[in-house]
C-alpha cells in the first residue's frame, strides 16, 4: 500500500518529507514571511518551466530562456524609455512588454521552422540563441541597466496582494493555462503524440511541426512574461539578469519526471520540481549550508531524481 503510493507519487512524497524536516530543523523556515519568500522566488523560473514542459514533451528543448528573460526585460525598459515622454509611463511599459512577448514568440516560431525545414536540432538553434539574445540585450542597453521605470511598476514583481506576492498569481494562472492546454485540448494530445512517436503522429494526420512550433512560441511568450516580472522586481532592464536560468528551468522539468526523449511528462510534475528546487535552496540557506555545497546538492538532486524515476518505471513494467 505504502509502496504503491510511493510508486505513484514519488516526488510528492519526498517533497512532503523534506518540507516537514525543514519545518522542524531549519530556523525561520516555517514563518509565513519565509513561505511567501520561497513562493516569490520560484515564480519566474516556474512560469518558464511550465512552457518548457510542453517543449520537452514534444521532443524538443529550449536552451535560450535565460537570455530570453534578460532580453525581454531590456526590450521593455528600452521601449518604456523611448515612449514614456510621448505616451506616459504605463502605456509605454505595456507596449514594451507586448513587444518583448511578440519578439520571443516569433523567435520560438523561427526555431520551430528551422527545425522543420533544415532538420536543425533545437538543442543547437537555441544554444546559439542563448548567446544571440544575450548579445542583443547588451546591445539594447549598451551594457548598463536601463532604469526607465516608475517605482510603482515594482508592484508587478515585488508587490503583495491579499497577503500573497503578486507574481504568484501570474504563476498560478500560467500553471492553470498550461495544465488546460496539455490535458484538455487536442494541441496537448498532439504534443504527447508528437514527442512519443513522430511518424505515428504524422500518419494520424497531426500537424507535427505546427505542434512543436507552437510549443516553442508559447514558451517564448512565457519567457518574456518572466522577463517583465524580473524587470519590475529590479526596476530596470538588465542584460545580466537571469544568467544560467535555462539550466534551473530544465532541471525543474526533469525532476518533475518529464522525459528528455519526449512523449512523457506532466505540468503537475513540473510544479513539484519547481517547488522542490525552491524549497531546498531556501532550506539550505537557512541551515547555513555554504553556497558551494548548495550547488553540489542541487546537481546531485537532478541525477538522483532521474535515477529514481527510471527505477520506478522499470519496476512498474515488471508488476
Amino acid at each position: 500500500m505504502a509502496l504503491s503510493l510511493f510508486r505513484r507519487y514519488p516526488m510528492e512524497i519526498i517533497l512532503v518529507c523534506m518540507y516537514t524536516y525543514l519545518m522542524l530543523a531549519a530556523p525561520g523556515f516555517a514563518t509565513l514571511d519565509n513561505q511567501m519568500n520561497v513562493l516569490r522566488n520560484i515564480t519566474m523560473q516556474g512560469i518558464i518551466a511550465f512552457g518548457m514542459t510542453m517543449v520537452i514533451v514534444s521532443g524538443e528543448i529550449d536552451l535560450s530562456v535565460g537570455s530570453g528573460v534578460a532580453f525581454s526585460g531590456c526590450v521593455t525598459a528600452w521601449v518604456a524609455r523611448a515612449l514614456t515622454d510621448m505616451l506616459g509611463p504605463w502605456p509605454a511599459i505595456t507596449i514594451g512588454a507586448i513587444a518583448a512577448m511578440v519578439i520571443l514568440f516569433l523567435v520560438g516560431v523561427l526555431t520551430g521552422k528551422v527545425r522543420q525545414h533544415f532538420n536543425m536540432p533545437t538543442f543547437i538553434t537555441t544554444l546559439g540563441l542563448l548567446t544571440v539574445l544575450s548579445g542583443a540585450a547588451n546591445l539594447i542597453t549598451d551594457g548598463f541597466p536601463i532604469t526607465s521605470f516608475p517605482f510603482q511598476f515594482n508592484f508587478l514583481g515585488a508587490g503583495i496582494l491579499f497577503g500573497i506576492p503578486f507574481p504568484v498569481y501570474i504563476f498560478a494562472a500560467v500553471f492553470g493555462f498550461v495544465y488546460f492546454l496539455m490535458n484538455y485540448t487536442s494541441f496537448g494530445r498532439a504534443l504527447y503524440a508528437v514527442g512519443g512517436n513522430l511518424e505515428a503522429a504524422r500518419l494520424s494526420g497531426i500537424d507535427v511541426w505546427k505542434t512543436k512550433t507552437l510549443a516553442l512560441g508559447i514558451t517564448g511568450v512565457l519567457t518574456a512574461i518572466a522577463g517583465v516580472l524580473i524587470a519590475s522586481q529590479i526596476l530596470s532592464g538588465s542584460a545580466s539578469a537571469a544568467r544560467g536560468w535555462e539550466l534551473d528551468v530544465i532541471s525543474a522539468v526533469i525532476i518533475g519526471g518529464t522525459s528528455l526523449f519526449g512523449g512523457k511528462g506532466t505540468v503537475r510534475g513540473t510544479l513539484i520540481g519547481v517547488l522542490f528546487l525552491g524549497i531546498i535552496v531556501n532550506g539550505m540557506t537557512l541551515l547555513n549550508v555554504s553556497e558551494y555545497w548548495q550547488l553540489v546538492v542541487r546537481g546531485g538532486l537532478i541525477i538522483g531524481a532521474v535515477l529514481l524515476n527510471h527505477a520506478l518505471d522499470r519496476s512498474t513494467v515488471k508488476h
Binding site: T185, R189, G196, R202, L203, S204, G205, I206, D207
Partner: protein, 500 residues
C-alpha cells in the same frame, strides 16, 4: 562426395509450436543451396541453429562428418560457419577496413606502446578484395558506398574469417538488379574457391541463376530437395504452397463491379519507386495490391495518403481532385492508413490504449480544440467492443497488448475517424492466426457497410482470401488485374514474380 553439413531428425519447438520438424538432409560441399519456403516455414530456424543462435530441441547436426553442438554463435563461428544477416551490421561512419576488422584490427608494438597497425590492416583488406575479385577502396567510408557495395563489404567481412560454410539470409532484398548481378558473380567466385553456401531468398527468379539445389520447407516440414538444373520454378512453387485450404469470403449482397469509383488514381509517378500507376477503387470494394517486397506497394499507398511526395499524376477522391495530399487533409477527406509497421508508424507505444484509439480522430472530436477523456470515451469503448480488443483497462500502455490486439488498436484508431476509404498495409504482420482471421472479418464487415479499402500483404494467400479484386505490381509498375476467385496461389505467385 561426403556432405559438409548433415542433419538427422533436427527439430525445434517453441513452446507447443513446431518451428522445424524432423529435418534430415545432407548438404554437398562447394554448392549453393537455396532454402525456400513462405514466412514461418522454418528456414530461418534452420539457419539459426546452424549459426548457434538457437539450439535444437532434438536431432543432430554433423559438420564434415563430426557431430557438433553449438551452444552460442561463438561456437558456430569457431567451426568456420559465418552468417550474413539480412540487416547490414556495418558501422556507417567507419572505413571499409575498420569494419572488416572490427574488434580485431592487427596490432603492433612500437617503443613499448601497443598500437593498431593500419598498414597491415589495409594490406590484408586489399589481399582479401583481390582474392574475391572486388574493386572497393579500403579507405572509403561505409556510408559513402551504395547499398550493393555495402552488402559486398558485409560478405567480404564474412569471408575474412575464412568460412567453410557461409549462411546468407536474404542478401539481395535491398539490392537493385545490377547490384544483384555483382553479388552473384561474387558468390560464384566463392563457390569455385570451395566455399559452401546456404542461401535464403524470396526471389524465385534468382534461384535458376544462382542455386545448385533447392530445399523446400513448408510449415516446419521438409517437403523435398531438388537439383535446380533438372527442375522448373513451377515445381518449386507447388512444393512451397502445396494444397492450400482457403477461407471463404462471405458472399456480397451487391455487385461491387457495378459501383462507382470512390478513388481514382491516374498516372501516379515517383521515380524510381513507382511509375505511371493508374487504377480505380470502387465503393465498398476490397482491392488488393499484390507484389513482392520492393514492388512499390507501400510507396504508392503512402503517396496517395500524402505521407510521401509524388512527382506526377492525379488523385481524385470522391469526385474531388487532390492536388497536394497531406496526411492531415486526407484524414479530413475520409482516408485512413494503417501503416505496415505498427511500432514505428501506427502507435505511440508508451501511451495508453485510450490515447492511441483517439489519436487520428482528435480534430473530429474536438472541432474547437478542447477535448476531455469523456468526449473520447465512447469511441474508445466502441472500438474495444466492436473489434474485440482484449484489454484490462484502456488506461494501460498499448505496449502491454499482444501483436494482434495492438493491430486492432491501430485499426480502431482509424475507424473512429469514420473513414470512407481505408488503406490496410500488412495488417496481419506479426499477428497470430486467430487475430488474423478476426482482422479479415473486420475488413469484410466494414466493406459490407460501404467502406472501400486497399489491402496489401506479403502473404499472397491472404490476398486471395481477402480481396474482391487484385492489382499486381512489379518493380514499381502496375502489371494488371487478377480475379481472385479464378486464380490459384501458384498463378498469383508467378504473376508477382514473373509478370502477367
Amino acid at each position: 562426395m561426403s556432405a559438409i553439413v548433415e542433419t538427422q531428425g533436427l527439430t525445434k519447438m517453441y513452446g507447443n509450436v513446431v518451428a522445424l520438424d524432423d529435418f534430415s538432409h545432407k548438404f554437398e560441399p562447394a554448392h549453393i543451396h537455396a532454402l525456400m519456403g513462405k514466412n514461418g516455414s522454418g528456414k530461418s530456424t534452420l539457419v539459426k541453429m546452424l549459426s548457434g543462435v538457437t539450439q535444437p530441441t532434438s536431432g543432430t547436426m554433423m559438420l564434415n562428418g563430426r557431430q557438433v553442438e553449438f551452444k552460442s554463435p561463438q561456437d558456430a563461428f569457431e567451426a568456420n560457419i559465418v552468417t550474413v544477416h539480412q540487416e547490414l551490421s556495418l558501422v556507417p561512419d567507419l572505413s571499409v577496413t575498420e569494419n572488416i576488422f572490427l574488434g580485431r584490427l592487427p596490432r603492433t608494438r612500437t617503443l613499448g606502446i601497443d598500437r593498431i597497425n593500419w598498414g597491415q590492416a589495409r594490406l590484408q583488406t586489399e589481399e582479401l578484395f583481390t582474392r574475391m575479385g572486388l574493386n572497393i577502396d579500403p579507405k572509403a567510408t561505409i556510408s559513402r558506398l551504395s547499398v550493393g557495395q555495402q552488402q559486398t563489404v558485409e560478405i567480404a567481412k564474412a569471408m575474412s574469417f575464412n568460412p567453410t560454410l557461409l549462411l546468407l539470409d536474404e542478401p539481395t532484398s535491398a539490392l537493385a538488379t545490377k547490384e544483384v548481378e555483382m553479388l552473384f558473380g561474387l558468390l560464384r567466385n566463392l563457390k569455385d574457391q570451395g566455399v559452401t553456401m546456404m542461401y535464403i531468398s524470396h526471389r524465385m527468379s534468382e534461384l535458376a541463376e544462382i542455386a545448385d539445389t533447392v530445399t523446400v520447407l513448408r510449415d516446419g516440414k521438409h517437403v523435398g530437395s531438388i537439383e535446380m538444373a533438372a527442375s522448373s520454378l513451377d515445381t518449386v512453387v507447388d512444393m512451397m504452397f502445396g494444397d492450400v485450404a482457403r477461407a471463404t469470403r462471405p458472399a456480397r449482397s451487391t455487385d461491387i463491379s457495378k459501383k462507382n469509383p470512390i478513388l481514382q488514381v491516374k498516372g501516379l509517378t515517383r521515380a524510381p519507386a513507382f511509375e505511371d500507376i493508374s487504377f480505380d477503387l470502387r465503393r465498398g470494394e476490397v482491392l488488393g495490391l499484390a507484389g513482392m517486397l520492393g514492388a512499390g506497394r507501400t510507396e504508392v499507398l503512402r503517396a496517395i495518403f500524402g505521407a510521401d511526395p509524388h512527382d506526377a499524376g492525379e488523385i481524385i477522391m470522391d469526385g474531388q481532385v487532390v492536388d497536394t495530399p497531406a496526411p492531415g487533409s486526407m484524414v479530413d477527406l475520409g482516408l485512413g492508413y494503417t501503416p505496415e509497421n505498427r511500432k514505428e508508424g501506427g502507435l505511440v507505444q508508451a501511451h495508453s490504449i485510450h490515447n492511441n484509439l483517439s489519436m487520428a480522430s482528435l480534430s473530429k472530436l474536438a472541432p474547437r480544440g478542447i477535448i476531455t477523456k469523456a468526449v473520447e470515451a465512447p469511441g474508445v469503448a466502441k472500438q474495444i467492443e466492436q473489434l474485440q480488443i482484449k484489454v484490462d483497462s484502456p488506461a494501460l500502455p498499448v505496449s502491454s497488448l499482444s501483436g494482434g490486439n495492438q493491430q486492432k488498436v491501430v485499426i480502431g484508431n482509424w475507424l473512429n475517424t469514420d473513414p470512407k476509404i481505408m488503406f490496410f498495409d500488412e495488417p496481419s504482420r506479426g499477428v497470430d492466426v486467430h487475430a488474423k482471421q478476426q482482422i479479415f472479418q473486420i475488413i469484410w464487415e466494414q466493406a459490407a457497410t460501404g467502406l472501400s479499402s486497399i489491402f496489401v500483404s506479403t502473404e499472397l494467400e491472404e490476398m486471395l482470401e481477402v480481396c474482391d479484386r487484385i492489382l499486381v505490381m512489379k518493380e514499381g509498375r502496375l502489371l494488371g488485374e487478377i480475379d481472385p476467385s479464378k486464380t490459384t496461389l501458384t498463378e498469383l505467385y508467378t504473376a508477382c514474380m514473373e509478370g502477367l
